[in-house]
Assembly symmetry: C2
Homo-oligomer: 324 residues x 2
């Protein structure tokens, strides 16, 4: 068991989830900690969780170690650049640091959304698919692209920022600065914004959404519940989100002709509400062959997608691609 | 000279342009004929032009032969599927046919826009670039994508249909069925449509465009000329096209982070009018690193892009990729 243990680290702005796993993706041990502030804290917490999962898995060191980390980053050098969600971690050479800790291990670092795409590709809903888009629709909309079995990183290592493709130029402004990108129109945050607007509206049309939200701020789940009961305001919000999800999927089909689009993230849990009709619209309205040849399916790995993605990164999928 | 002659065939709906070239892309001979109607006519004309350029180049047969053909097609099998621009050529196994004619030659067939991308990649403005988008803005807007040195074909072989990405959902309807795709908003056809609308407008605002067009129907060139003289209606049309070109470029940067976007096609000849301000906007409004790291430059190969693209296809660039 000590041989062949692979470590995956899902490094996020709020939490670090580290797993020890077999190369087949069976998780042997996991540790989840809050992300400390600052460079030394982050590196120390990563190192401690790695030591803990290795200990629990009965391994002296990892055969390979992968990190999925927030962008922007340089995946070839394994260096974080200026990640806005990790203050103090500018120009952090993570690959070099962990190669120092574990000299025998292969170490790779990848953008978190790309890591997640590789995770679904190797272990989840994208298995066996050479042309794959992975999309997560939660507070934001992110993604990763695999084309011809190879991760598309682009020149800056940032490819796959599907959520910041403009689809409604006169739409609301996103924190990214653009107006009407997919994320600002259909993410969980966008749905919550529309829900708040409905609740605040003086004509009382938001009453059902407010009731569904209870004591919590209105969110996608409240909209889903109110829509299920036929509430007009909720259905209007759902229609807006579905419209832009459909355009987002359709644009990916036109540009990339994926065999499969794998959709994860919190909003996608209400699949029939927010995703299924958008998927249907996209497949019908894209060009005929690529539309027919693209399946749009739910992600498989749930909350482990980042950590198992980091395991796929550890196994070199970001550099070498994976056979279909 | 007989050794190593490569033949490229640019098979279009209206013309066939066939070249014999060196592997370095120096054209030794060329033949251009109108595309005949029907399967036998098309294949016969292709064969005749190949024989003619081989004769002129002093070669017995091609070392390799490539075809850039209208989609949809199956590039791996080298079969045209149901190309709307080539009636009678349904399920035409071009690769097999030309392998029969020239048993010693390597034969490849590729989607025409992808072939053009490979042509600019090997011989033109995309040389040495591993992450490249090629876009042609003429009567339509098409393109091809190279990521990590490899052509992105997608599952259906249709990847790169950049012009049919939706960027204005309430925009006019395209012949593709979608509303507000980039092509219907900023192609030469779209500019001509806006020019006709201006000329037809009862308020006389289209007078300068009409004068610039002279006896011809108003087109992008007439709009360019009227805009150069400061005409308000022409400048409005230019602004609309620039807006959507900017969004199109920006979306490509967000999704793919190309190191270079190579732009060709008739509309791009008025570079400073239709392209330069859009390129500037895209680089400024995309994410910081991929925006800064993306050059947007004019195509290099002019009217030979299709035929030289077919030469790159013959050399196997569609299957094997090309080193940076």
């Amino acid at each position: 068991m000590a041989h062949g243990v692979v470590v995956g680290i899902d490094l996020g702005g709020t939490k670090i989830l580290t797993v020890a796993a077999t190369p087949e993706g069976r998780i042997l041990a996991r540790r989840r900690v809050a992300t400390p502030t600052g460079r030394d804290g982050v590196v120390g917490a990563m190192r401690d969780t790695v030591a803990a999962v290795l200990g629990e898995a009965g391994a002296d060191g990892p055969a390979a170690l992968g990190v999925g980390a927030p962008g922007p980053m340089d995946p070839e050098a394994g260096v974080l650049l200026e990640p806005p969600n990790l203050p103090g971690c500018e120009n952090l050479p993570l690959a070099e640091i962990f190669r120092g800790y574990y000299p025998g291990a292969e170490v790779h670092v990848e953008n978190d959304a790309n890591a997640a795409a590789l995770g679904e590709r190797r272990f989840g809903a994208g298995r066996g698919v050479a042309d794959l888009c992975y999309i997560t629709i939660s507070t934001g909309i992110g993604g990763g692209i695999v084309a011809g079995g190879r991760l598309v990183r682009g020149a800056a290592g940032t490819a796959g920022e599907v959520g910041h493709m403009v689809v409604e130029p006169d739409g609301p402004q996103c924190h990214c600065g653009l107006h009407g990108c997919w994320e600002v129109l259909a993410s969980g945050t966008a749905i919550a914004r529309m829900a708040r607007e409905a609740v605040a509206s003086s004509d009382g049309s938001g009453a059902a959404i407010r009731a569904a939200a209870g004591d919590d701020p209105p969110d996608a789940r409240a909209v889903d519940a109110a829509a299920a009961a036929g509430d007009a305001a909720a259905l209007r919000i759902v229609r807006a989100a579905v419209r832009y999800n459909g355009i987002g999927f359709c644009n990916l089909i036109q540009l990339l002709s994926p065999a499969r689009i794998v959709v994860g993230g919190g909003v996608s849990r209400a699949w029939d509400r927010y995703i299924a009709p958008a998927a249907e619209w996209a497949r019908q309205n894209a060009f005929d062959r690529p539309g027919r040849m693209c399946e749009i399916v739910p992600a498989d790995l749930g909350d482990d997608v980042g950590a198992l993605g980091a395991v796929a990164v550890a196994l070199g999928d970001g550099d070498r691609g994976v056979g279909a």
